[in-house]
């Protein structure tokens, strides 16, 4: 293999993980973690300049470039946030240096696994990468070793593994469908070959395969009713991991699903995957929106909001068509940025207040103005109010699907409104209510949070034409 950006994208996190596993001092390793994430981001951006040649195992095309850059960008900003977050955790003794060493090594392993899943051209390799990503996050969710963290990690491990097992069964079935046409061996698992020849595949077998893939990877996307692991995993793990889970890992699973959807679309007689995705998306939106009202843990609340937004995105991709796909992509990008910004804020808030219970947090805009207003801005963005970016992407999704399926779109809008009510109800208390809990000043790094929010605001006001052109191009690919 020649050395190019593609190799570097995978190699940097691996090398960093190996070094971080050996470094005892947490300040040095936090800095190295940040540096490695920065290099990965730079490498990912260079993919737009020089496109490496795709092979049997690795692939770079317009679709995954968007995902890779988003992943490495949020991975980088999260590593900045993580540095200050972890410092505080060590100070208060919630984590020991040994665990932090493990945490940093796992962080880079996770980045590697996600990058691999995104660039994999071989559906078997993609599966392996998603599996590795799952296992690393399981280990990180359980890192606090509290009752709740162990339960969350166990639940995530069992449900995630079952999901991943079903996805493997689906992958094997895709191979079985491809084998009579392409022949035995590696070629029948190469995605580019599969898409090119999918028209001749046996549609019935492909249908069954897609059901398994949807259930399998859908579990990882967090679609209701397969979402049970998600709120626990978000609430009990370290907050940087909540940000990465919501902002990135859910996207990676969604990306795997989209790749298989493209194979399905290329096969004439197969069922349209769209309606299945639309139904699961809508169920997730309504369910998660209703669940927002009874949450008592702030991280758990935003985890349900992630389920809601993944539902909206899956709905958009399920409806399909150039405009809905464009809106789905935009929404996915903005959701990643906004939700991780919210988790950055929430992470520091939980550290200042010493609790995640909503009942014990109040009046943040008075006690910690910067954090409080950051959270307010994040929530205003996530519920989809103008002029922030998510308003635009949600508006695009609704307007592009309303003409085709007015009733389904009405359900979607209802879900979005219910979620808005739920989030504002809590925000009102948390941000503007009576000041409650500890009121020490926060030692926070605000840069990652406000960078994300500024990007989201900018997207709502002005989308650069280059970005629009790139996204429309990808939207056309998705069919």
């Amino acid at each position: 293999m020649t050395f190019d950006a593609l190799t570097a994208l995978l190699l940097i996190p691996v090398v960093a993980a190996a070094i971080l596993a050996l470094l005892p001092d947490y300040r040095v390793s936090a800095a190295l973690n940040l540096l490695a994430a920065l290099f990965t981001l730079v490498t990912a951006t260079s993919l737009f300049v020089v496109q490496p040649v795709s092979g049997q195992y690795l692939l770079v095309d317009d679709l995954n470039k968007v995902f890779i850059v988003l992943t490495t960008f949020v991975g980088f900003t999260t590593s900045v946030f993580s540095a200050s977050y972890i410092g505080h955790e060590i100070e208060v003794g919630r984590l020991t240096p040994a665990f932090v060493r493990f945490y940093h090594a796992m962080y880079q392993t996770l980045m590697f696994a996600m990058n691999l899943a995104l660039v994999a051209n071989n559906i078997g390799l993609m599966w392996v990468a998603v599996e590795v990503a799952t296992l690393t996050t399981v280990l990180m969710v359980g890192i606090y070793r509290t009752h709740e963290a162990l339960e969350a990690a166990w639940k995530y491990f069992i449900l995630g593994s079952v999901g991943i097992a079903l996805a493997l069964f689906g992958t094997i079935l895709v191979y079985m469908a491809a084998r009579p046409v392409i022949g035995e061996g590696t070629d029948a698992m190469v995605w580019t070959v599969l898409v090119a020849r999918a028209a001749q595949f046996d549609p019935a077998l492909l249908n069954v395969a897609f059901v398994f893939l949807l259930l399998g990877y859908g579990t990882k996307v967090g679609l209701a009713p397969l979402h049970a692991w998600l709120p626990d995993a978000h609430a009990e793990g370290p907050t940087p991991i909540s940000a990465v889970l919501s902002g990135l890992l859910l996207n990676v699973a969604l990306y795997a699903l989209l790749r298989f959807k493209m194979i399905m679309a290329a096969c004439e007689g197969a069922i349209a995957p769209g309606p299945l995705m639309v139904v699961m998306g809508l169920i997730s939106v309504i369910f998660a929106a209703l669940m927002l009202y009874r949450r008592r843990d702030i991280k758990r609340m935003f985890a349900y909001s992630s389920i809601e937004h993944m539902g909206i995105i899956v709905f958009a991709f399920g409806m399909g068509g150039a405009l809905a796909n464009f809106a789905g992509l935009l929404h996915m990008t903005l959701h990643s940025l906004t939700k991780s910004a919210i988790f950055f804020a929430v992470g520091h808030i939980a550290q200042v207040k010493g609790t995640q219970k909503i009942a014990d947090i109040g009046g943040l805009t008075v006690t910690n103005p910067v954090l409080g207003w950051g959270l307010v801005l994040g929530v205003v963005a996530i519920v989809g109010l103008p002029p922030l970016g998510i308003f635009m992407s949600e508006f695009l999704i609704v307007s592009s699907t309303f003409a085709r399926q007015p009733w389904l779109t009405a359900i979607l809008v209802l879900g979005i409104l219910i979620a808005l009510g739920g989030l504002f109800m809590r925000l009102n208390v948390v941000a503007f209510g009576e000041p409650k809990g500890l009121t020490k000043p926060a030692e926070a790094s605000y840069i990652p949070m406000f960078t994300h929010l500024a990007l989201v605001l900018m997207a709502g006001i002005y989308l650069p034409p280059a970005l629009v052109a790139g996204f429309s191009n990808v939207a056309k690919l998705l069919g």
Partner: protein, 223 residues
């Protein structure tokens, strides 16, 4: 693909489904682990036979992984863990045996109907193996949902992965990457599980998952 070759492959894959049924009704952990060892042993035989029939030497590696790792190392290690935890005498009462068995039969029927209907084009051996494999996967899921004990859930999950290996070997010519990764995942999974079982024990003095539920952040009665 006729005569003896087909019959033996059929017999072995069928035995794997049978072993899954045997897992379903074991209520003692020791017995459960022994049957799991048998399950993995049958899988090893089945994979070895496929290697022989398909002239695919790399499948012998998969077979030996199944034999050494899944049929011997994991059951022995789990034996030791449950003795250490002092739960080897525990009797588990989940759903009634009759109900679970009927559910299991329903799942096997379902997988036969689904797989045989959608694969008329494939060769007979592959399609029957695939149907059996799906049965084993679904039975593994059934074991996982009917058990409350962490160790038995893990056994259910491992039997499910055995079903996946059967499917992967039935898919003729599938590259080795998948078999290795499956074995690999079991390995990591096992390490993770081992750590977790000890940790759960440490915290709760029990590996009953029911004990975990009480610590849910939001269960309403625990604040």
């Amino acid at each position: 693909m006729h005569g003896l070759e087909f019959d033996v492959a059929h017999l072995l894959a069928g035995s794997l489904v049978l072993a899954s049924f045997m897992l379903l009704y074991q209520d003692r952990l020791y017995a459960l682990l022994n049957v799991y060892a048998l399950h993995a042993f049958v899988l090893a035989l089945s994979v070895a036979w496929q290697a022989f029939v398909q002239h695919a030497p790399h499948l012998y590696i998969t077979a030996s992984i199944a034999l050494i790792f899944k049929a011997i190392v994991i059951p022995v290690a789990l034996h030791r863990i449950i003795v250490k935890l002092g739960i080897h005498r525990e009797i588990e009462t989940a759903l009634s045996v009759g109900l679970t068995m009927i559910g299991g039969i329903g799942l096997v029927a379902l997988s036969m109907v689904v797989m045989l209907r959608v694969t008329p084009g494939a060769d007979a051996l592959a399609r029957e193996d695939l149907a059996f494999a799906l049965s084993v996967v679904l039975l593994g899921l059934l074991i996982m949902v009917t058990r409350r004990n962490a160790v038995s859930q893990v056994v259910g999950f491992m039997s499910l992965e055995n079903g996946l290996v059967l499917a992967a070997t039935a898919a003729k010519g599938m590259p080795l990457v998948v078999e290795i990764s499956v074995a690999f995942s079991v390995l990591i999974a096992f390490i993770v599980i081992g750590i977790f079982l000890f940790r759960i024990r440490e915290r709760f003095d029990s590996v009953d998952i029911g004990a975990l539920d009480r610590f849910r952040g939001e269960s309403g009665y625990d604040v």
